[in-house]
Subunit: 442 residues, 2 copies
C-alpha cells in the first residue's frame, strides 16, 4: 500500500502544468480538488448541532415557551470564585513585564501537570511528564486518532459519545456506513461495536468482542451513566493485555462517581500503565466547558509493537498540531486543584448536579419508567415509551413539555429507544422540567 | 484503493479472538499495535523543541551567561490592559449566574466573528459566518490538513513555517523523506517545494511550479520576512484559478506590513474568494501566543470538484475535532478589535517590535551582511557566513554571543545558509544582542 500510495502521489505531483492543465467540470468557480472521501463518508450532522437546530425551530414555533435544556451536557452553574479570581489575576498580570508570558510548553505548565498527577492520580504512579494538558477531551480524541492513523482498528461502546467514531471516520479507519434497519442509526464497517445495554448491565461480554488495536471506553459512560466496577475494569485491562490492544479510557465524568468500589481512573487497575491512555477534562468537573481545559495521560510503559513509546508520538502530535491550552485556562485549572479550598469548591458544584440527577431519577421512577444512570454521572438514561424511536420520543417531549433531551440513537444504534436527560441545569429548572414531564407522562 | 482498504480493515476486524490471538513479539509489555507509518516518517524533532534543548544545554555550560532569545517567534511585551481587563472581567463574571457561560458555538462567538469580518476584512466581502474562530493558526493548519485528507497534493514555499509539511506527513500526503545532500535538510516525495530566495526576490517562478491540489502560502513569510506584492498575489490567485487549486494563505504576520502596496489579506485580490482560505492569529498581532486565539476564513464560494462547499466540511471538522477557542481568550480578542482604543493599543505593541526589526536590520547592514526582511515582518533573514550551514552558524552565534537565532534550514532546504533573527524581545535586549553581534562579527 505505501508504494502504491507514493506512486499515486508522485504521479499527481509531477504532471507538468504546461502538458495537461486540469480540466474543470461544472461552474467555473469550482476547484479541481477532490473532496476527502472520509469526510463524504461521515453520516448526518454532528449530533449536538442537529439538536440546536431543532431547538431553534421549536422556539420559532413557540416564541413564548420557556424551553428547558436537559440536552447537551453543558454545565450551567457559576464557577467558584477562587478559580475565576485566579484566571482574572493571571490575565491582568499579562499586562505587566513580570507577569507577561508568551508560549508555554505545548504539553502544559509543569505546575498543572504536577497537580493533576498528584491530586487526580494519587498513589497510581503517574508522573507529571506523563500528563499532557489540552483544550479538552474531544480535542484529545482527534489528536489521538491523528496519531494512531488510518490503519488501526477500533472498538467503541454502543451507545457512546460520538467523537471516537467520527474522528475515526475522518482518519479513514472505517469502511462505509450502513444504516441499521432496526434503529435507523448508522454503523461503519470495520468498527467493533460493544453493546452496553440493560441486558448485560451496561458492560460488554468481552468473550464475544473481537480484537481491535484500540478500544475506546468511557466510564462513567456518556450517555448511559453507568460506571464500570473495579472487577469490570480489571476484565477490560486483562482483555487488552491478552490482545495487545490499547485502551483509551475517557474519564471525563470521574468526579461524579459515588463510593469506592468503582475506579475513578483506569490506573487504579494493576497493569493498566502498559495498555491504557486516559483522557479527561475540567469541563464537567469544574464548569470549564467554555473555558476549555483537559488532559491526556500517556504512560511511559505504553509501547507500540515495534517498541516505540506511544508517548513519544503523542508528544510529537501535541507539538506539531497543537500549541498548548490557553495559559489563562491553565491558571484556572491549577486553582481547582492546588488548594483544599479550591478542590472543595468545585466538588460542591458537582454535588449540586448529582442532586439534580437524583431528582430526575426519582421522577422517572415515580412514573414507573425504566431508568438508569444518575448515581455516578450527570446523565440519566431512560426508556420513556418502549418500542418508539428515540428521535420521535425527543420530538414529542420537546413538543409537549418544551424540555430538550438527547435522542439515544445519536450515541449509536445501541442507544435506540432511550433518551439521555442531563442534570446540568439549575435546581429550579430541573424541578420545573420534572413537573412538566410528570404532568405529561403521568 | 478504497476497496483495498476496506477489505483490509474488515479482515483485521473480523479475525475472531478465539481462533488466532495475536502473537506478541518482544517484551511482554509491548502492545501489538503497529506504529503509524506516517509518524515514523516524520524527520527530526520539531524545530523549536530542538532549539529549546540546545538552549538548555548552553545554559548548563555557561550558567552565568545572559542568554538573549531572538529565536522562536514568541512575543515578549505586555498585552495592553484594555485587553487583559476584558479577559479578567469576563473571567470574574463566570462566577455569577448572569455571567456564566458554558459551551459557546464551536465556530466562535458571533460578536468576535463579526468584529474580525468588519475590522480585518473591510470591503472585502467577508461575512461573519465565513470566519471560524480557533485556538491559533498552527491548530487550524492541522484541522485543514485533517479535512483535506491524505489524497491531496500540496505545495509549500521553501523556506517556510514547518507546520504545513509536518501536518501533511502525519496525514499521509507525502512519500518518504530524502535528505537533501546540499543542505542536510529533508525533502518529502510528493511535495512541491516552491523556492523563495534572494535570486527570485522571494517569490516563486510559477511557470515552473507543478500543479497541486493545495498551495500553502505564508505572507509576510515566516522566516524570510518577505511580504508578497499585490501583483505577486494576483499571479498566485490566477495560478490557483487556472489549476483549480486551493490556496491556504497564512496571514499571521499581516499586521506587520508597511505601506499599501502589499495586501494584508489574500481577499484584497479579485477572485480570491473562489480559491483561497485564509488563516490568521492574534498571537503576533496582540501578544496572544500563550492566550491562544486565531481564525480561519473559508468563503462560501470555495468549492470542491464535486460542488461541495469546503466550508461545510471545515465546519464539520471544527464541530467534531474541536470545541471552540477558550471563551476567555475570545473576550480578549474582541477587546483588541471592538474599539478604536483597543486597536490603537495593540498596534503600538506591533510598532515597537517593528522598530526592533529596524535596529536588527541596521546592525546587519552596518556589518556588511546580506540581510532581508524586517520591513513587513518581525523576522530578519540574514546570511552571516556565506557557505556555512545554518545549524553551524546558529551554534557559533550561541557559543560566542549567547544569542539564540533559528537556523534557516529548519524551514526547509531553501533556508540553508541563513539564520532567522526575531524582533520579539524588549528594545533593551535587542540593542544588547546587536552590540554583542557587532563585537563578534565586526
Amino acid at each position: 500500500m505505501p508504494t502504491n500510495m507514493i506512486s499515486k502521489v508522485l504521479e499527481k505531483a509531477v504532471l507538468p502544468l504546461d502538458v495537461a492543465p486540469p480540466v474543470k467540470k461544472g461552474p467555473a468557480s469550482r476547484t479541481s480538488v477532490r473532496r476527502n472521501p472520509n469526510m463524504e463518508r461521515l453520516q448526518n450532522g454532528y449530533l449536538f448541532p442537529e439538536i440546536s437546530m431543532r431547538r431553534e425551530a421549536h422556539e420559532k414555533k413557540y416564541p413564548d415557551a420557556k424551553v428547558i435544556s436537559l440536552g447537551i451536557g453543558d454545565t450551567t452553574q457559576p464557577i467558584p470564585s477562587i478559580v475565576t479570581s485566579a484566571m482574572a489575576e493571571y490575565s491582568l498580570a499579562l499586562s505587566t513585564p513580570e507577569g507577561y508570558q508568551g508560549y508555554g510548553p505545548e504539553q502544559g505548565q509543569k505546575s498543572l501537570r504536577k497537580a493533576i498527577a498528584d491530586v487526580v492520580y494519587p498513589n497510581m504512579g503517574i508522573r507529571d511528564t506523563e500528563v499532557f494538558i489540552s483544550d479538552g477531551a474531544q480535542c484529545d480524541i482527534a489528536r489521538l486518532q491523528m496519531m494512531f492513523g488510518r490503519d488501526v482498528t477500533i472498538a467503541v461502546q454502543d451507545p457512546t459519545f460520538p467523537g471516537y467514531v467520527d474522528n475515526g471516520v475522518i482518519m479513514g479507519q472505517t469502511g462505509p456506513a450502513a444504516v441499521d434497519e432496526e434503529s435507523g442509526g448508522s454503523r461503519y464497517a470495520g468498527i467493533e461495536y460493544m453493546r452496553c445495554a440493560p441486558e448485560n448491565a451496561f458492560f460488554p461480554d468481552l468473550s464475544r468482542v473481537r480484537r481491535t488495536d484500540v478500544i475506546f471506553f468511557c466510564s462513567p459512560n456518556n450517555p448511559t451513566g453507568h460506571a464500570a466496577s473495579r472487577d469490570q475494569l480489571r476484565q477490560l485491562v486483562d482483555f487488552a493485555r491478552r490482545n495487545g490492544s490499547i485502551v483509551v479510557f475517557d474519564s471525563a465524568y470521574a468526579s461524579y462517581v459515588s463510593g469506592d468500589d468503582k475506579p475513578r481512573s483506569i490506573y487504579e487497575v494493576p497493569g493498566a500503565r502498559e495498555v491504557a491512555i486516559e483522557i479527561s477534562s475540567f469541563s464537567k468537573f469544574a464548569g470549564f466547558t467554555g473555558v476549555r481545559l483537559g488532559w491526556a495521560v500517556v504512560p511511559d510503559e505504553l509501547l507500540y509493537a515495534d517498541g516505540t513509546r506511544v508517548a513519544r508520538d503523542f508528544d510529537r502530535v501535541v507539538t506539531t498540531c497543537f500549541n498548548g491550552a490557553s495559559s489563562v485556562a491553565q491558571a484556572g485549572g491549577l486553582a481547582c486543584l492546588a488548594t483544599e479550598e479550591g478542590r472543595a469548591a468545585v466538588a460542591r458544584v458537582v454535588a449540586g448536579y448529582k442532586e439534580n440527577a437524583r431528582v430526575l431519577v426519582d421522577t422517572f421512577q415515580a412514573l414507573g419508567k425504566e431508568v438508569y444512570g444518575g448515581d455516578d454521572s450527570p446523565y440519566v438514561w431512560v426508556r420513556l415509551f418502549p418500542g418508539r424511536r428515540s428521535w420521535d420520543v425527543f420530538a414529542e417531549i420537546l413538543e409537549k413539555t418544551h424540555v430538550i433531551t438527547v435522542p439515544g440513537s445519536g450515541f449509536g444504534p445501541g442507544g435506540e429507544g432511550f433518551v439521555r436527560v442531563s442534570a446540568f441545569n439549575s435546581r429550579d429548572r430541573v424541578v420545573e422540567a420534572c413537573a412538566r414531564l410528570t404532568s405529561f407522562l403521568a
